[in-house]
Symmetry: C3
Amino acid sequence: MNQEIFTINNLWMMVATILVFIMHLGFASLEAGLTRAKNTVNILFKNTIIPAIGLLTYAFIGFNLMYPGEVFSGGFFGLAGLGISLPEGWDTYAYNEGYTFYTDFIFQAMFAATAATIVSGAVAERIKLGPFIFFSILYVGVCYPIVGMWKWGGGFLDALDVPFYDFAGSTIVHSVGGWGALVGACLLGPRLGKYTEKGMNAIPGHNIPLAVIGVFLLWFGWFGFNGGSVLSADPGTVSLVFVTTAIAGAAGAFGALVASYLKFKSYDITMVLNGILAGLVGITAGADQMGIGEAAIIGFIGGTLVVFAVVFFDRIKVDDPVGAISVHLVGGIWGTLAVGLFGNLASFQQVISQLIGIGSVGAFCFAFSWIIFFSMKKMMGIRVDEKEELEGLDINEHSMRAYPDFASKD
Amino acid sequence: MNQEIFTINNLWMMVATILVFIMHLGFASLEAGLTRAKNTVNILFKNTIIPAIGLLTYAFIGFNLMYPGEVFSGGFFGLAGLGISLPEGWDTYAYNEGYTFYTDFIFQAMFAATAATIVSGAVAERIKLGPFIFFSILYVGVCYPIVGMWKWGGGFLDALDVPFYDFAGSTIVHSVGGWGALVGACLLGPRLGKYTEKGMNAIPGHNIPLAVIGVFLLWFGWFGFNGGSVLSADPGTVSLVFVTTAIAGAAGAFGALVASYLKFKSYDITMVLNGILAGLVGITAGADQMGIGEAAIIGFIGGTLVVFAVVFFDRIKVDDPVGAISVHLVGGIWGTLAVGLFGNLASFQQVISQLIGIGSVGAFCFAFSWIIFFSMKKMMGIRVDEKEELEGLDINEHSMRAYPDFASKD
Amino acid sequence: MNQEIFTINNLWMMVATILVFIMHLGFASLEAGLTRAKNTVNILFKNTIIPAIGLLTYAFIGFNLMYPGEVFSGGFFGLAGLGISLPEGWDTYAYNEGYTFYTDFIFQAMFAATAATIVSGAVAERIKLGPFIFFSILYVGVCYPIVGMWKWGGGFLDALDVPFYDFAGSTIVHSVGGWGALVGACLLGPRLGKYTEKGMNAIPGHNIPLAVIGVFLLWFGWFGFNGGSVLSADPGTVSLVFVTTAIAGAAGAFGALVASYLKFKSYDITMVLNGILAGLVGITAGADQMGIGEAAIIGFIGGTLVVFAVVFFDRIKVDDPVGAISVHLVGGIWGTLAVGLFGNLASFQQVISQLIGIGSVGAFCFAFSWIIFFSMKKMMGIRVDEKEELEGLDINEHSMRAYPDFASKD
């Protein structure tokens, strides 16, 4: 190691940090675009405040839960203290060859908020703001870092004989968000008018350009999300990850295009957008272990799966306005499994380890989310009342409208 | 060469790659903003699927057509095989001092889709989706890399006594797109109601903020498009290219502002936006060969030209909804010529070489586009029917609307 | 110093340059989103042309005023000539260890336009375009670089016994813009209908998603604004600056959330957005001198202050449509003072130096702005007439509308 390589590595990790940061604008735009104009301020409010929550809780406790180091650490839980204290040599490669302590913290902190942002899409247009924020604080500040520690903090999933593998977080980030989304959507119930006796009513998103902006910004940021997970600027690995990330997203678009055209006989842009994201979620667990062909297959299948998953969740009447569960939970499970099926690590034992990871993370996140959402539902209610839902959350929770100068359709 | 400089070079090339990537969102936003709300989903669908097409076709065949290496290569055509196979030492500076093999591929792949994206703006609001996608696959997968090989793959334009010079692609990328745009717009004919007996009717874009977002993202990405074309992080050259790129865009804004104010007596924001782009296209061929003053002149003239070109194409009834032909074809020709007129390479012989490049690329792309578009026109038709055009492509090709919650004007 | 570190430093400075560039899209989006649809083209036109003005005037004169070097330089004023001439060794670390001459120029040039962009928000919806552009040219080309020279060009503020400290420009950039905004808003007077006998009427912004896009892009760019002000890629300092920048923005969101909820009993997204910006402006002066806790305090107080400032300026009937004065002037003063109160430099003497800087910059900018705006007001008028203001500036100054396909509310 020398100072030059350390400085380059750290520079890339900082650039990756802000690429992950801009993903929060991607989520905000996508979720706002795919919901109705009357709830736009509410969605944007949540997606603006969540990164702030993520950064602050991660500084206070999350980072110390996720990377307990030698302070106190079992296989399932550890804690290095509260708040941020600088270790000796924090700004040299004595701390880490890839980054300074502060870069380490801020890169991980940008990841943290993602989990709650994923949830926000699935519970949109009907959840009360206060309970959602309370849930987000606990989910980002406690649940996510505990799960993260199981793998990235050296916990039990990392200590399996054939270690569970999740390069940048198909399970650790995306399906963590996906489980919270599933629980939230189930306990809230569907939006008024979504499922009637006559069948399912599509509730179209109000601003497709905004959704497109969201997906492109997410894809853009994903190069930092996956590329930064190399934890250095190593030319070979990072450039491989860029290629697999790009190809999987592209193949996801095609998978969703083909599947949705065969199923619906129309060119459905929201399916293509979610297909891109599913391709990206899918490659995330193994982005450094696949070649270009495997990345294309994983992305294509991810994009196909999202179409069937969206139809499936509508059939069982789990109302997910933006398709977050299909993208992040189904896509996350698929990507995690794919590490055992394709690429350098493919083996039967790896599949087993991947299933252990998927199952244990799923069980914990499901239970964690269910306890919080269910308790709040009993104690204070988590859903806005019917009148407020019909009028829109913007005017009721925020006393304002997102587009006051425009006439609405009806 | 050492590992440190190699790692830095490769890092810059990767950052440049994602800057070029985000240009696709720029094109999507700009083209959607400058067309009508009833065709927005359609435009966005095309601009979302094109980068996916570009990445996949470039992996399958484009990269091998464009950089045939020693496998098989004449002056006009070569092919290194199908698909991506890793050469020995692909991740070291033995492959290239500026980047790994994967970085090479992905940077070039991001460029590839640009050609079709340019076309999509000019044929907007009336082309059928299927034929456009078919055209895009061939144009991005075959036409663009063949032309690219003529210069960047060591083909005949690079082998002229005074080699044709096109630093980052005023001709190789932008006018390739521009020729396809011209042919498409001509064979489709103008939008209904654009040119009537009483004269030309302006059909204003439906969302100016979206167009502004598009142009700024394009300018932002252009620092990677031009800056990455240095093919290393060389401090002097890349910073020079940043300055010429920034100044040419700024001067383009002024050129268009002055010309459009003198001509129309109003402050026309769409002209200023296209002026910025024309300034950027103009500097692209010689971004590393100009000083700050030359960049300002080239940009200013580019911005002025775009105003006259827009008026000219309307006069000859070539309907280009977003001004793509004026920006990318006229601007691309201007920028390519400017290399012979200004800066380090200025000479009479260089002008001749530039004209040879402009002419040969133009002839090939015009013929290629014409054969495909004309064949499709005869066989299946390339234009939607009148009813569909009047109602909008969104509801007819995609069964959805971009802004379902808002009341439309009429 | 060696070539590797020089190349890395320069690479980071170039990346920071384009991060600052994209802040101009942030300002454009934010200001357009927080004003009315009928004035959107006008706001966007100004925010598109201002970066162009900034780049060109900075090349012609600004850079030479701000960094006069040894050519001619007193404590208050200096000039190195006109236009850009390359010094010997401009592309080596003989020029500077952190960047080439061209990187130096372009990074500073991107900063320059910010001052006028801030003004544009405060004078929106009623100022004539011509006078605003004339003001911008002088403010960006002359006022900003003279003030900048006082500190960053080695002028009298840098020569105080305890030097005035302003790391990235809470005073030098943000409050320079803020003073111009204050003067402009005062001399123009409030928008028609804003303050009536019955009290203050809120005039809501027309597009909240656009405002959110703006704030996230500004935060994104701020990592380059503050991070680039390290003037190298030093791992420790830049990563510290990233952390303080992120945390201050997050804490600003919370400060504004709490203050606005207590004051208005609603979740006000525009306050949260301005709180983020105030947190960022607040940390800018001392981003490299604070720890994570101090950054949180400074940001939180900044976010709180912005709520009270917005209320205060409305009470004294200074109409600032986007809250620019509250964010950039109040936030800038707060951040500059905070350097004397918190962190490594905290001392009574530092507070005095900070007050000298705040006062002298304020007096100069106030006078400069007042002279220009007042002269123009007397000579040609700076405000559009009543009919034009009611109909909107778009249709009157630009002969077009931002959203022609949508029906407006009234």
